[in-house]
Amino acid sequence: MVVIQALVDGILIGGVYAVVSIGLTLVFGVMGIVNFAQAEFLMLGMFVGYLAWAWLGLDPLIGSVIAFAVVFALGCVVQHTLIRRVLRAPPVAQIFLTVGLLIVIENAALLGFGSQFRSVTTPYQTSALRLGDLFISVPYLAAFLMSVVSGLALWLFMNRSWYGRAMRATAQDGMAASLMGIDADRMRRIAFGLGVGLTAFGGAVILPYFTVHPTVGAQFVVLMFTVVVLGGLGSVAGAIVGGQAVGIIQSLSAMAFPVQLQNLVLFLVFITVLALRPQGLVGGAR
């Protein structure tokens, strides 16, 4: 019973980890850039979701759509003005541009929103479904369902729409893509916007149980990298598997080890996967 409870919790939270991490892997897949500032867009998404709740009275699950839209637009601008300029630079320059971006966004948020912790109150955030001895947290379930929906939407977009296919084509072979008449710059803009937008969406979705403040991104950054590495850098399907893996590892490892060591367990898995299967658990499939 305890194991099942842990498993259920792990799967639910894993869905959320997946959706906040998909953006990171998408950006890497399309552009080969590891975006260290990705978690800052999560924070921005949380703030947008929070303000939509505070000013407009919108539930964060609805506000998440606004969060997506706002951060998507911001992402397009960031891609166009900053990231685009380092696409051909050495990886070190790419990494450190995003580190600079991280510092800027975090502190701009501190200036703009203040340092307070903010959280929303929703009617369902302290309720749970009960199935016998099993508790299913409603905010977790809601976040999970929203993650599944957004994951499906992304899958449909990537596989069923011209733009999605064009984006995948750009990721797999930018030169060939432009020979198909695909504007690679534009695809990269959309990919970056989509990547950070989805992360922002994930941020808003967890608002019913999580608190937002300008440095909240730091809580997620290493986690996101773990998810993405487990799934394979650049693999969207991998991020989903990786998210589930991280959620379940965290949840189950707490039964055998002190909770304090849950990150240690994750990092060891992370290093092992990198050393033995750098392409990630899902392998070559993108």
């Binding site: 011209w162 296919r165 064009a166 995948r168 084509a169 797999q172 072979d173 030169m175 060939a176 893509a177 432009s178 020979l179 198909m180 008449g181 695909i182 504007d183 690679a184 070559g284 499939a285 993108r286």
Partner: protein
């Protein structure tokens, strides 16, 4: 050697490249190359590995970072366009090394070829046509392109280009590294395509093969056109026979 630019649209060649200088880093690869392809013509470009053949093709597709000179296609100045605007004019380019999208299925690869004309209702008909031209691709429709053999990948690359319904098909080393039997199949297909009215600009390492399918050819050496003639005349040219046919 460059053909005078025709003023009347009826006589203007489909593609005309004049005095093209192009290159990547510091040094130019092409030093004033002029090449034309007439409406429905089959032209090949010969030369050694680094003579600049690919650079010429890539200049037409606007993939070369630095270039000056004139490139016109059916009345449009290509020099002013970004690379992604070129296919929309009806130029399909099959790059050297095939460059299929490895993680997409054969069908997805083919359909992407029509991206530039994605609202064209003729696409589905063209798709069937490609499968008829390369029946092997029909069998492997749902297979990931990266898992195909070299020859099949080349068929995907060519088929993908055909999905555009191009007026000019640019082929860069299509038989490179393929088994002879596959090469034969491909070249039969090229002749079919040409017979359908599509102009072809072919770069081919296999000189003999190229001259056997094309009607006219250019020989490039160190970024300059050193010979331009009909295919038959080139095949008889002692210089070509010595340097490129090894006879």
């Amino acid at each position: 050697m460059s053909a005078p630019v025709a003023t009347s649209p009826g006589t203007e060649p489909l593609l005309s490249v004049e005095e093209l200088h192009a290159g990547y880093d510091a040094a130019d690869v092409l030093h004033g190359v002029s090449v034309t392809v007439g409406m429905g013509e089959f032209v090949c470009v010969l030369g050694a590995n680094t003579a600049g053949k690919s650079t010429l093709l890539r200049s037409v597709s606007r993939l070369v970072p630095r270039s000056r000179g004139r490139i016109r296609f059916a009345g449009t100045d290509l020099m002013a366009l970004p690379s992604h605007a070129v296919p929309g004019l009806g130029i399909a380019h099959v790059p050297e090394g095939r460059h299929v999208f490895p993680d997409m299925t054969v069908e997805e690869n083919l359909r992407l070829g029509a991206f530039a004309v994605r609202h064209d209702p003729a696409i589905s008909g063209r798709f069937d046509g490609v499968l008829r031209l390369f029946p092997r691709l029909a069998e492997r429709r749902r297979q990931r392109a990266g898992t195909l053999s070299g020859g099949e990948q080349q068929m995907v690359a060519v088929g993908r280009a055909l999905m555009l319904g191009p007026r000019l098909l640019i082929l860069d080393e299509p038989s490179h590294g393929l088994a002879p039997i596959v090469v034969d199949e491909l070249h039969r297909a090229f002749l079919d395509i040409h017979a359908g009215g599509t102009a072809i600009l072919l770069v081919e390492q296999n000189t003999a093969l190229a001259l056997s399918v094309a009607s006219r050819g250019y020989v490039l050496e160190s970024g300059r056109v050193v010979l331009a003639d009909t295919a038959d005349a080139l095949a008889d040219n002692p210089r070509v026979r010595e340097a490129y046919l090894g006879i």
